[in-house]
Structure formats: C-alpha cells, structure tokens
Amino acid sequence: MVDLEKMRTIAKETVSRDDVRYLIGWRQGTYGFRVSPHFMKGPEEAEKLIFSPLCSNNLATYLTLTEKLPVPRGEQPDSRKIAVMVKGCDSRAVVQQLIEKGIERERVFVIGCPCEGVLDLKKVEEKFPGILSPVEVEWSGDKIIFTLPDGVKEVPKGEVLAKKCLSCRYPNPVMSDITLWDEVKSLGDGNYEDVKEMEEKNPQEKWSFWKDKFSSCIRCYSCRNVCPMCYCEDCVLDRLNPQWINRSANISENSAFQLARAFHLAGRCIECGECERVCPVDIPLMALNRKLAKEVREQYEFEPGLDPESKPFQSSYRPNDKEDFIL
C-alpha cells in the first residue's frame, strides 16, 4: 500500500544526508492530471512529493542528464549522491545505466516504489475531458479512484491503465537502496501478443502502417530526450559530418531516424514506454522497441536492466549464440 507519510519522511531523511545532493521525486503538475518531476534540495520540500497512478514519468532519465560544469581550480567536483524515486520499470533503467557505466553505483541512491500501474493520460482525458484544476488519483484494488471537482469516480483499472502496465512483469524495483512499501503483484505475464499481431501482417501492410505513422513525425526528438537510455552528450544522429540523417522532417529521414533509434535501443530498452507517452503525434514507438526486445529475449535469452553486474547485450558474445536468423 502506498504510504505517502513514510515516503515523505524517508525523503526528508535522505535529502538531509551530507552525502546526498538532491532527490528526484514526483509532484503535482500545474493543471489537470499532469505530474512533474520534483528536484528536492531540502527537507522542507517533502510535502510536495506525491506518488499516484499519475506518476508515469521515468525519473531515471534525469540521472544521466546531470550537467558536468567546469570545476573551479583547486576545488573538487561534487561527488554527492543523487537520490531518485523509481517504479519497477524505472529501476530497470537505473540498472541498465549502471551496466553501461552511464552512472556510478556510489553516486546514486535508489528509493523503490512498488507500483500497481500508471495511467494512460490519453485514455483518462478522453474519459474526463476539460479538467484543468489539479486532481487526486489513487489505487484501490482493481480500481482507480479519481477525486474530481464534480465528485469521486471509480474506474476499473483495465480502462485507464497504460498498455505497458497491463503486461508488466516488473512492478517492483529490481534494485533499490530502500523500498518504501510492500511488493505488489505483477499485472501481466510479459507476453508479446501485440508484437505477434504486427508480425502477422505482410510486408506491404507493415510498410503502409509505418509509412503512415512515420510521415506524421515532426522530429521534435521528445522520444529521444525523454528516453533514459538515450544520453549520449553528442547524439550521432545530430551530427553534420557525417550526416547520417538530414534535418528535414520527411518520410525518408523520419524512418531512418526512428529505425536507427530503435536499433540503438535493441537489448537496452527497458520498456518504460516514455517515448510513446510523450510523442505528440501518437507514433506507437513501443511497437518497434518491443519487437526488438522480443527478438533479443527469444534469440539470446537476454533481458536488459536486471543485473547490474551483467555484460551489456551488444558486447556479450557466446559461442553458442543463435545465428539461424541471419540471412
């Protein structure tokens, strides 16, 4: 059961530690169902923290974005930890970042929040349109309780939960320094029914599907910027020499961008679904990522973001690796 008091107490304690620089948690957004990340620097800010079905944001993204400012001569770089609150999927992002040395274990303090599934805001806003004042939402068994301006509404989980949560196998953090409450049961069995459905289409059907989706891409790069695994300071797809992808947003360049990104995430994507959530033109990006995740899992029995001591997928080779799918 979510215990906000405990969460705030622990946040206070954590942020007061000498070796913690700040804590990243969630807070109520400025309107409606929106939730923002909160960078908490002192214990007095604890009351702002929330944890609810609205907390979709994967805060692990911010760990690798910490700017490394020049250190004045004679001073030491700030080596304090950053504390971060994570759901199950978010914790896999932290683990994957550790595997690929994006962050260091001793520079991060992980606060685990077992999660019963977050909402798909598109579904919610369709159900309750036009709500601008901040709203409270809670889990209650297999229902979600909305405290709206016009009263309390109960909605079955299945109607409003994000798709990724309905098949989620890792609702509990796979790694944490402290876990805030009891573990919860997973909602799904991790099947790839959606991927199989796509696989059954013939190449023409697939292409017309993706052509439609990719031609609407406006190359805002939200998907890349929100992705906890996309943290190269200088993205290879941004470069001018050589220019792998030119800047114009058209079907050719958009497809190249999206496919290149999907391949860069093969064996690394931890399926938090943030790319799809933030896409302003509703491209089903997880369909690409999950297809590759399925291949990696079935062909190589590999799943990213589970064991910080494991070798990265791309650089781990076993002599008995399958190769029968190579043309």
Binding site: P70, P72, E75, K101, Q243, Q314
Partner: protein
C-alpha cells in the same frame, strides 16, 4: 596537403577473369566522367610489372594523388598496389580497391548486369578514395625474451631452439617436473625408441641452459601488454623444500607417514607415492616437493610430534615456512605449449572403465609396460595376491575420438599407432598372449607408420573391424560384444584385459590460458591457429604462438616440428628487434565518448581500455585504443553507439559517401 583530389582509376582485365563478364572498356569510359578522376586506364594484368609501371608513371607525370584499382579482392593485391604507390612517392594508404572480380565477374552470368555492377563498385570506390587520409605505420621495440607456457616436449624443444639462438627464455611449468606426457610413455612409435632415453637429455638441457630460466611448479597469473612488450606475472608455488639444499636423496619420501598411500599421478594413479615426492626418477629438477593438499603437517598443522621428513633430511631442506613467490618480467613473444588431457573413459559407461579393474586406458598400459612403472614393467592386472598376467587382450580404438556422442568429432591422430605399439609391446612381454584390436579404421599416415602397422599384424595381432557396443563381466572374464562388420558376424569375445585407446582432449583448465591471452578455440575446443594452412603456429594475437597438442592432437614428430616452427616464428620477431604496427587501426574521439565500455568488451584483442581523464575538473572515463594491440577489425567502431570509435580508412565520413553514391545512381 592534397586539397584537390586527382584520381587515377585502373581497371584490370585479369586475363579474362574480369573481361569475360565485365565490359572493361565501358567501365573505363564510365569512370572517366566521375568527379575528380584525372586518368583512367585498363590493362590485362594490373598487378604485373608493366601494369604497375603505368600507375607509377601516371602518378609522376599527371600528379595523381589518389588511386583506385578495379581488380580483385584487397586480400589478394592491396599490399602489391600499396607498394606501387609508395614506390611512386605517394602515401600507400591513398589507395582504394574496387573488387570487380570476386564480388562481380566471378559471381554473375549476365554481362550487361555485371558491367553495370562493376560501374557502381568503381563509382563507390572513387567516392571514398577522395576522402582517404595519409596513414603511417609505426614501430615498437621487441623485448628480446620469450615466455613458454608448458614444459612438455613442445615447450622444451621451443625453449632450446630459442635459447640456442641466443635469446632469453622463461619456461614455466605447472607441475613439479618438466617432461609432460612424453615422460610417461614407455616406447615411441614407430621406431620403438625408449621415450625417456630421447627425452631426458633435453630435459636436462633446459635445466642447465644459461639462457633458460626454468620455473617449475609455477603458474602464469597475468599477461598484459602487446607484441614485443608483454608483462608477465608468474606465481612460483611453495615447494616447502629448499631447492638449493635438496640433494634428492629420497630419504624424506621413505620416512613420510603417508609413504605408499597417495596415488601417483605420474603412474596414472596405479602406483603410490608419499606426500613429499619426486614425480618420477628422472624428474627435472631433481628436487622433492611437498603436496600441500595431502601433507599432514600442511593440512592439519600437525604430523606426529614433528614431521618425519624434517627429521630425516640431513641437508635441512624441508621448510614449511616457505611462501609462494611472484616473479615479474617482460618478454617480446609468448609460446603456448600447454598440451592436452587424455579422454576420460568413464564418459563411455558401456565400456565399464569405472567398474572393472581389467578395463584400462592406453596410458595406464603404457605405465604398466614401463620399467619405471608401478610393476617394474610387468603387465600385472589387479592388486596383491590377486594380480594376474592377462592372456586374452583386446584393444578398442577411437574411445573418445570420432565420436559425436561425447562431443569429439575429430580424430586424435595418435591412438592407431600407440595401439599398434602397445600391442607389439604386449607381445614382447607376454609371448603367449592373444591380442586383437577392434577398430573403425586404421589411419597409419605418417612416415614409417604403415610399415609398423604391417609388422604388428605379421606378429600375430588380429585386427577386427567393429566398434564394440558393450563390455560386461561373465565369470572372471570380460565379454566384448561387437559386430565384425567385415563379415557381418556378431561376436562375444571373452578376454582378460580390455585396453581403451583413449583420445586426446583439450586440457580441462584450458579456460585459464584463454583468459590469460584472449585466445580463440576452434570447434574442437583446441586453440585456434591464425590460418589452418599458412599460419599454423600463429594466433590472432600478434607475438603469441602455439606449439604441440594445445593446438590439436598430434604425435611427437609433429609436435617437435611445430615447436620448432613456433620457435622460429618467435625468433623472427626477437632477432629483428622491431615490430611494425598497422596503420588502419581504431581511434577514439574522447570528446564524444561516453565511456560505456562496450568497445572494451567487444574488442577480441583486448586493445581498448577505459582510462580516466580530467575535463575541466571533472573526472570522466573514456575509451582508449592501444595502437600496438589493435588489428583494425573494426568491431569496436561498429559497436559504438555514439560513433566515437572510428577506424582509420573506414571512418563513417569516408564510408557514408561510398554508400550514398550507390543510392543516387541507376
């Protein structure tokens, strides 16, 4: 320099290899219209002297600064044409090969299509050659010393050859004595020389040679560095006996409380030894060693009132205070001569090796017929009063070789002949013995082998073609159940002794050596040579060579020949004193590297490491390539997500235009 590219394109006919399927004139005409192309020529054999002369003259007279040769695979003639460029005063890396033979004329059947493809390949090479950069090979010094791992006959021979050439050798052996498996053998096929008689002089030589530093009972713990400059760390295990004081009188072993109670490894566990022991009489060095896993004093801290060996040793050589020592040194080359293990016959339960005392392996029989063996050379089966001399003896060949069910598809190459040799020796020792050999095939391929096989058959050894299915006990006899496949007759052969001709396998601790040197294994799990025919003693790691059965099963003559080959390969580096380092190697753009270490794990040569750098006060980790170790395979560049690792001559900005030009042309 060379701001404006002036490209020469040379299209080769390769006799008719190319011109038969590709319209060479059309390709020449096409190439003349490509951007920056100044000269285009075609010639029947571009690699011939007149062909190369054409190129050299054009480079001088026309001021060419880039060259495309449209001919065969770069594996064939890239080096040839690089030298041509260099001879004309051009940087040899301003060359791009357009492969219109292996990848075009040889694989197509339509002349028009093949010509079209040849044009594409040429235009793609022209697009790239403009962007190539001048590269320079560098040299590193070679430390004039060699590390040899394993002191069996392979290691011993290689050590002697290198030491005799005047270079330092560090010969490291895991067990207390040099000699390896050959020291366990009685006679050697097909000449029936006494194995010890031909081996022991060499064993003594390596111990006495001024250029050889022999480290027995030692283990290589770490090898870092690269060709010419390997840093080696060796652990010299404590023997608990002072090597300088021990006179090898042997009184300690006689007095040891465990005397005659520990199975002797040298005698394949058939004889017994003490906890303080000399592995075999001719051991080199002839110094006793205490087995730390057996010695009462070392395992329990107590051995009666005081250890008997200490009391018995007049020289005061026993020293329980001795500690492991670490030796560190530098070498230029490494020879891996770690040998083999014999197949564990218990993995073929149908032959009852683990069950019946009169089912033994070839190596066990070898010890029984040996004068230095547990029975003093008598073939006695069983213990004490029950020991008997077998009369009906069956050999079974290919046990653990040519057998997919145990995972060994290969032929072990020695079993046919050692079986013939042992069958002959049995006949010498037991004149009235009936010996038969069950075989699948007889492979007597070496010098004098067929003659020896013929001799053994004439001596009365029967060869029966059939692979026994089962061995079981009936009364006090063993029954070999087999079908004689030449006459299609099922047999149940009652015998007193079954000898399993066990094959050769990679050592069980092979992983340790792989981890030391990043060696590769072939599908049979022996070490992989760089090329099965043309580089049989080299490995993919420069400066590391293979000798003996570590590379694959072989007999003593082949092992010695290979050891001499490995020694001579090592000497090429040692005596030239310098080694060239490739120029088309990888490098890291530290500004964009995110330090994930993927390339470090991907690199099969251990050429990349993560190093810490200070960037404006922040300590960052970035990848760095060791130029001497990099082989230019490009795996790191392909694996780098941020495009920070690039390979010279194959940089993204050179390859992308090469690909792009294919997209815009029809």
């Amino acid at each position: 320099m060379n701001n404006k590219p002036k490209i020469g394109v040379y299209v080769c006919h390769c006799g008719v290899n190319i011109s038969k399927m590709v319209d060479v004139d059309a390709v020449t005409e096409f190439a003349s219209h490509l951007p920056n192309v100044k000269v285009v020529r075609n010639y029947s054999y571009m690699c011939s002297d007149p062909g190369q002369l054409l190129m050299r003259e054009d480079i001088k007279n026309e001021g060419l600064n880039r060259v495309v040769v449209a001919s065969c695979s770069p594996r064939m003639h890239e080096m040839t044409f690089r030298k041509t460029l260099a001879a004309a005063g051009l940087n040899p890396y301003f060359l791009e090969m357009a492969n219109i033979r292996e990848q075009c004329s040889w694989v197509h059947e339509d002349r028009e299509d093949a010509t079209g493809k040849a044009k594409k390949i040429v235009s793609s090479a022209v697009a790239k050659v403009r962007l190539l950069e001048a590269l320079y090979e560098s040299e590193v010094n070679v430390e004039p010393a060699t590390l040899i791992i394993g002191a069996g006959i392979a290691g011993i021979q290689a050590a002697l050859d290198i030491a005799n050439a005047g270079f330092k050798v560090y010969l490291v052996e895991k067990s207390p004595s040099v000699g390896g498996k050959m020291s366990q053998l009685d006679k050697t096929f097909p000449t029936l020389d006494c194995s010890a008689c031909i081996l022991t002089p060499k064993m003594v030589d390596v111990a006495a040679h001024p250029n050889i530093e022999l480290m027995t009972y030692s283990k290589v713990e770490e090898i870092t560095g690269y060709v010419g400059n390997f840093q080696v760390k060796v652990r010299k295990k404590a023997r608990y006996v002072d090597m300088d004081k021990c006179t090898s009188c042997g009184v300690c072993a006689e007095e040891c409380r465990l005397a005659g109670r520990i199975p002797s490894e040298f005698n394949e566990n058939m004889g017994k030894r003490s906890a303080i022991y000399l592995p075999f009489p001719q051991a080199v060095p002839a110094k006793y060693t205490i087995d730390p896993e057996r010695c009462l004093f070392l395992t329990r801290g107590k051995c009666g009132k005081s250890p008997k060996c200490v009391d018995a040793c007049l020289a005061g050589a026993v020293n329980f205070e001795q500690q492991d020592e670490i030796a560190e040194f530098k070498v230029g080359t490494v020879i891996v001569a770690t040998g083999y293990d014999v197949f564990d016959a218990a993995k073929k339960p149908e032959y009852g090796y683990a069950e019946y005392e009169n089912v033994i392996t070839g190596l066990e029989l070898e010890r029984l017929v040996s004068a230095s063996g547990p029975t003093g050379g008598d073939i006695l089966i069983g213990k004490g009063e029950n020991a008997f001399v077998p009369k009906e003896i069956a050999f079974i060949k290919c046990v653990g070789s040519r057998d997919k069910s145990v995972g060994n598809e290969y032929c072990s190459r020695v079993c046919c002949m050692y079986t013939a040799k042992l069958a002959h020796l049995v006949g010498e020792k037991i004149p009235d013995a009936n010996v038969r050999v069950y075989y699948m095939d007889v492979r007597a391929f070496g010098k004098g082998f067929e003659e020896f096989y013929d001799r053994v058959r004439r001596e009365g050894v029967r060869y029966i073609r059939g692979n026994p299915s089962e061995i079981f006990k009936r009364g006090d006899k063993l029954v070999v159940k087999v079908e004689d496949t030449l006459t299609a007759t099922p047999l149940e052969d009652e015998v007193d002794l079954v000898v399993l001709a066990v094959g050769l396998e990679p050592r069980k601790d092979v992983r340790e050596v792989i981890d030391l040197l990043r060696l590769s294994q072939s599908s049979d799990k022996f070490f992989l040579e760089a090329h099965p025919k043309l580089a049989p003693v080299d490995t993919a790691t420069d400066g590391v060579f293979l000798a003996g059965c570590a590379q694959g099963p072989k007999d003593i003559p082949d092992t010695v020949a290979q050891a001499k080959g490995a020694a001579s390969s090592a000497l090429v580096l040692l005596s030239s004193g310098k080694v060239k380092i490739g120029a088309q190697i990888s490098f890291v753009n530290e500004a964009t590297c995110r330090g994930c270490g993927y390339c470090v794990d991907i690199c099969p040569y251990g050429a990349i490491e993560l190093v810490e750098i200070n960037r404006m006060g922040n300590i960052l980790s970035v990848a760095r390539v060791n130029d001497a170790l990099c082989k230019g395979c490009g795996a790191c560049a392909a694996g780098c997500l941020s495009g920070s690792v690039q390979q010279r001559s194959f940089m993204d900005r050179q390859i992308l235009p090469q690909i792009a030009v294919l997209g815009v042309m029809r």
